[in-house]
Every structure is written in structure tokens, then in C-alpha cells.
Symmetry: C2
Subunit: 403 residues, 2 copies
């Protein structure tokens, strides 16, 4: 192995040039291309098999987007994420505007180049994080002012500024700023937040300028069928490249989440991608695919991995459990990921109990593989027009609790 280096087999962004090292930017400069477009390829029951084409590559849908909050999928290298077959990542405007800052990312060539990820990226607008993480938040018609959860510094985010930041980041898909409410909220509050979010969406569309970036509107309206329907219709009248379904998975019952998802997608055009934001468990995802959702993101696989909760075809496993201390079987006998094909439950338990950082890495590889493999099987079942049977079988098999 002498002379063997770790970088072989992965096309790094630095290459040796005539005068030393220089960025090999071909793959990234291709980012200056056309606006991402969505095609629906086939359908099975309510589930859609589609393709999002961006200048950074294609995304087969239904797709799960691993969360790279601060431009990194926690505990993994980009090479590991790539090897897992992820086709698109989600990153956060809120986190990146605070650290390292949108102007810095722009000066460093944009988010793809900054994090050396050549495939598509979707950026959330920051609305949800402002609501859930920041202190002293004040929402007005103009926008939102808040204090950073990092250092208490004062910041403001308007719909226009959220677009500007995301254009600087250079994500393939940007989300409009919206006002997120938790469940339960009063009808009057929800109506006002939905109206404000609609106004912000219109302002966002007006100022967007980047020709290679899609801008998605976000359906709000909480748990009120009429408000949500009305909001979706008005948003579609404005016209966006795709649509997020927002304000769900914020504490409401599962049945309500599904009903509100159905009410939202019923109003959305067939030829645009639909993204259910922040969802969810494997069953949540399958049920939402049945309702016509194309894209998902959730911290569940990555956060659970770090907490030692692992998804398997036979239900969830808490790897710290003493019963695994001498268990030399793989974590999930049906799984072909690096973790399951290489290590025993006993070793994974040891790493977790010993607080070795590699525990987080191996667990994250497995949980993300579980999610990405589930999506692959979902897509195949739609292509073969047997999604309903796949859903019914999966409902029985999968454990639907979050942790």
C-alpha cells in the first residue's frame, strides 16, 4: 500500500496544474446554466415518479435530501455522502448567513464550490430556523428581525434578502421566506401568517434574478383546510418553479398532517415538483408519496444515528442496548451499506458506548443508506406500477415512531 493516497478514486476539486494546484472548476462552472426543471415520468396510484434536472445534475424523484445544515452532512465526508448515492442535499440559509456568511460563501465561489459538492443543493429560506432557533424574534410585514442563536447578534431577514442570500449561495433550488407557526395556533394567527407568507412569496418572485436557480413557493395555512386550499391556489396563481408544503410536522397529529398534505397537493400543478418540508419518518414519507409529494428532507436519519437509534428492515434498534454487546450479526441483515457489510452489532455498540466519533459516522452511513434505499425502492415500485402494494406492505413492516 506504500504510496497509496486517500484521494484516489474521487475527483477532487483541486488538481495539480502547471503552476501548482488550482481549482478544477469545470464541474462547478457548469452551474451557470439553465433553470432547474421538473418532469413527471410516470405515476402509480397517487405516487409520482419524476426527474428534477439542474445544471449540477439530475435528481430522481421521489427523493430524500440529506440535511447538510452548515454545509456538511454531520460526521460524513462529501465522498461518503456521494458513495451513498445521495443526489441532492439540503442546506440552511439561516445557518450559513450567520456562519460563515453569504458574502463569504459567494466570494469563495458559491456553496457547491465552498463545500466541494458537485451535485444539486436545495437551500431552505431560513423561516423555520428563525422561528425555532433564534431569540427575540419579531415578525412584521417587512420581514423578521432576530438574534443569532450563536452570539446574540441582531439580524434581519426579509423576503428580498432571503432571495439575495440564496442567490449568493448559488443553490439549485431556493425557497421563499415564509412565516412558520407551530401547532396548535389560532385560526386568526394562521390566516394572518398565510397571508403574509403569500405576500412574501410575491415579493420573492419579483426580485429573483438568477437564471440557473429554481424558486419554490411554500403552501401555508396550518391545519385549516379552507385556509390551506386558498393559500395554495393563490400561490399557484403567482406561479413558481415548484412548491413546498410547509407548516406541517410541527406537532400536529399524523392524520392531520396527511390530510393537510392532501389538501395542498390537490391544488398544485402536476408539472411542478412538490416538496414536503421537514418530513419525516419512513412511513410519513411513504404516505406522503402516495399523496403526490416528490421531495423530502429530515434530520431524523442523521440525528438518530448520532443518538444511536438505527433504522432496520425489522424495526428500530437502540444500539447501546446491552443485548447487542456480544451480537456478532450485522446491524441489519438485509442491508448492503458499508456499516452492515463490515461491522457487527457488538462493535457498533462498543463504539457508541465508548463515545468514539466513528460511531456517529458508521451509524449515519447506515441510516442514510436506509432512507436513500427506501426511496430507490419507492421509485422502482412506481415505475412498475405497484406502489399501492409496496405501501401496504411497508406500513406493516416499518415502525412509525420518530426515535
Amino acid at each position: 500500500m506504500e504510496g497509496h493516497t486517500a484521494c484516489q478514486g474521487f475527483s477532487g476539486l483541486f488538481r495539480e496544474g502547471a503552476g501548482g494546484y488550482a481549482f478544477a472548476m469545470n464541474a462547478l462552472e457548469a452551474g451557470r446554466g439553465e433553470r432547474p426543471r421538473f418532469e413527471r415520468l410516470s405515476q402509480s396510484a397517487g405516487a409520482r415518479r419524476g426527474r428534477l434536472t439542474t445544471s449540477h445534475g439530475e435528481v430522481a424523484t421521489p427523493a430524500f435530501m440529506p440535511v447538510a445544515t452548515a454545509a456538511s452532512v454531520k460526521s460524513l465526508t462529501q465522498k461518503q455522502v456521494d458513495e451513498l448515492g445521495a443526489e441532492i442535499l439540503l442546506s440552511n440559509t439561516y445557518h450559513l448567513m450567520l456562519r460563515p456568511g453569504a458574502d463569504r460563501v459567494a466570494a469563495l465561489g458559491g456553496l457547491h464550490r465552498f463545500m466541494s459538492w458537485t451535485k444539486p443543493v436545495l437551500t431552505d429560506s431560513g423561516g423555520f430556523q428563525v422561528a425555532s432557533l433564534s431569540a427575540l424574534r419579531r415578525v412584521e410585514d417587512e420581514g423578521v428581525t432576530f438574534r443569532s442563536h450563536l452570539d446574540g447578534s441582531l439580524h434581519s431577514l426579509t423576503p428580498e434578502r432571503a432571495v439575495e442570500i440564496q442567490e449568493k449561495l448559488g443553490s439549485d433550488v431556493a425557497m421563499v421566506l415564509d412565516e412558520c407557526l407551530l401547532y396548535p395556533s389560532e385560526r386568526g394567527e394562521v390566516r394572518a401568517a398565510a397571508a403574509r407568507s403569500l405576500d412574501w412569496a410575491a415579493r420573492s418572485k419579483k426580485v429573483r434574478s438568477r437564471p440557473d436557480q429554481a424558486l419554490f413557493g411554500i403552501v401555508q395555512g396550518g391545519s385549516f383546510t379552507d385556509l390551506r386550499r386558498e393559500n395554495a391556489r393563490a400561490l399557484v396563481d403567482l406561479g413558481f418553479d415548484g412548491y413546498g408544503v410547509g407548516g406541517l410536522a410541527v406537532g400536529e397529529p399524523k392524520e392531520m398532517m396527511r390530510e393537510m398534505t392532501a389538501v395542498s397537493t390537490a391544488e398544485l400543478p402536476e408539472d411542478r415538483a412538490r416538496y414536503l418540508m421537514g418530513v419525516g419518518t419512513p412511513v410519513d414519507i411513504l404516505e406522503s408519496v402516495a399523496l403526490g409529494i416528490d421531495m423530502f428532507d429530515c434530520v431524523l436519519p442523521t440525528r438518530n444515528a448520532r443518538n444511536g437509534t438505527l433504522f432496520t428492515g425489522l424495526g428500530k434498534i437502540a444500539i447501546k442496548n446491552a443485548r447487542y454487546a456480544s451480537d456478532e450479526s450485522p446491524l441489519d441483515p438485509g442491508c448492503r451499506c458499508y456499516t452492515c457489510s463490515t461491522f457487527s452489532r457488538a462493535y457498533l455498540r462498543h463504539l457508541f458506548v465508548a463515545r468514539e466519533m466513528t460511531a456517529a459516522t458508521l451509524n449515519t452511513i447506515h441510516n442514510l443508506h436506509f432512507y436513500l434505499d427506501l426511496m430507490r425502492r419507492v421509485r422502482l415500485s412506481i415505475e412498475e406500477d405497484r406502489f399501492s402494494a409496496f405501501l401496504a406492505a411497508s406500513r406493516e413492516r416499518l415502525d412509525d415512531s420518530a426515535a
Copy 2:
């Protein structure tokens, strides 16, 4: 990329068999082979180019052994360690006897199988960790009793027990239990500890039984030339498969460390491997190679990586420094590791400042590559009989501080 899984391209220890998954143990069962043997292949000035052949593969020397204290190189997967070209790892008897326990590792097929590492492993005896980590240590002629740093439980380690544990772990090279003193220590204490260590070495040799494991004696004698010389001679009279040089890098001046290393190696047979325990900085390693040392281990590259201190051909870098916030050059322009060929200093600083776990991984990949690549160049310079020039040039170029 659909359907692509993370485990392709790496021969996992689990393979799909007729009735499901089963361990593919060919590579590991080969461990039941002959005792590791060392050959000196060439020499340049005092530096030796050699080869340690074990039933888990060959190790080109001079070699650096990355530290896998608790059966894991912190923040890396075994695949990443393998891709870096590491040919042998060091693991710790002290840590493994406490957690998960030697009997458990043995029941799980031994250390190689437990951690899915098919190349050689050297295990330290635990003497140094008992001295530096445990509480309420009591050293007697019989052995040492101590309380675990994990839970305060009472344990004892005798020379016989240290051999037994390491035979259960099944490492390729086992170390005798020794009594380690810090610097400075009184001559009388050092003399007594050296005599006791010699007695323990004799008892270790008497009880060792595993035919596929080398047992190394450890030269003690602190900073006293005559004691160290006398101890080395007596140890060689006992006769071991290889020799550790211990009790150094424990606070003594660099000049003294080098003198004591020289005094020790002068007494050791040419046809046995010499291992300088716990050393050191890149310059320490080069200077010690010049004195005839073949093997090294040190936490410096991995611990410094987690602290954000990175070795480069131009000196050390503290990556958190604000000067790197917009620096889009690679960490070390001369380095070909995955980290340097893929990411900018600005991104590495961002990950470190944001406390992303991936910072530790990328930094560890780089620092270990730096050490392993240094050893590769050391070996080449010996093969080409230009080690003295290599050493002189490196002395000027490399920064010799520990952090």
C-alpha cells in the same frame, strides 16, 4: 447513482452467503499462522529499512502506527484508514480490558475480526496507561492494581495477565507489561522500576503461548545511561522477538530522549525490530530513525487533528485562525490527501469553527497522511542511501513543536 451503495469497492467482512450473511473469515483466519518476523533490508547511515512479516500482512519499516486506542482510529472508518495506506495499527490493552473486555473480544473472534481490520495490529501492554490514566495505582512485584478511569472499578494487571489478555485479543505484536516512570525520577526509583520491569519481562516470556504473536520486551532505565544500557543487555539476554524503547517522551528534554534512544539501540540486536514507544513529532521520528528505530506510535497526528492543528510541509497551521476564513487554497499545497485535494482552508476553518464532526475526520485524514507519507519518504531515502541528506533537509523544514 441510483442503487449505488456505500460498501462497493471495499471488501467487507460480511458477505452474503447461502443462508444470509456470514463472516467471510478467510483473511482473518489466516491469523493462525507463523510468528511475525523482522528482516533488515538495507541501511543508510544509522537508519534501517526493514520489513515486519505477520500472518496479517507485511509492514514496511520504518513505520508509523496510527493509534486505535479503543479499537477505532478516532473519527475515521477502517476503510479510510486503509485508504491512507496504514499498514499496522496500535491498540491498547488497558482500554480494551476495561471495555469491551478481553473475553468479549476473544468470543467475537479476536481484535482483527472485532474491529474488521485485516492488517497487523500491535497492542500496548497497558503499563503506560495504568500509570497515566488510572486512579489509586499500586505497583508491587506481583503486578499493578488500579481503579478504572471509567467507573472506578478495581482491576489488577500482572505480567502474566497482560500476556493472557493480549493473546485473547490476538494482536500480531504484544508488549510486555512494564513499570513506567515520569521524568524526572530519582535514580533509586528508576533502578528499581527497571529491575522490576526486567523481572516482568522474564515472567511474560515464560507464559506466552500463542505461536502467531510476537512478544516485544521494553528497555527501561529512565535518563540514566548506565541503567538503560544494563537493562537493555539483560533484556537481550532474555531474548525477545523485538524490543520497545520505553520510558521516554515522558517530559525529558529532547537531547536526553535522543541520547537515551541511542544508548538503548546500541545494545539491541540488528535482526530485531526496535519500537520507540509514544514518539513523536515528525522531527522526533526522523532523528530516531537515524538512531536505528523501526517503529513508532503517537497520538499527535490524530489528537492535533481534532484540536485543529494541522501538519504541513510549510509548518503547522491552526485552522481556526481568522486568517484562513477566506483562504481558498488547499491546506497544504504539496499534499495529495483527500482533504487537500478536495477542500479549501476556508471550508476546513468553517467546519472547525462550526464544530462540525466532519472537521475532525478531514483533519485526521490529512494529519495521518502527513505522517504516513513522511514515513514513505523516509523509507525511500534509506533505500536510495540518502537518508542523512533527507534528515538534514527535513530538520530545517519541519517545525518541531508538539502542538
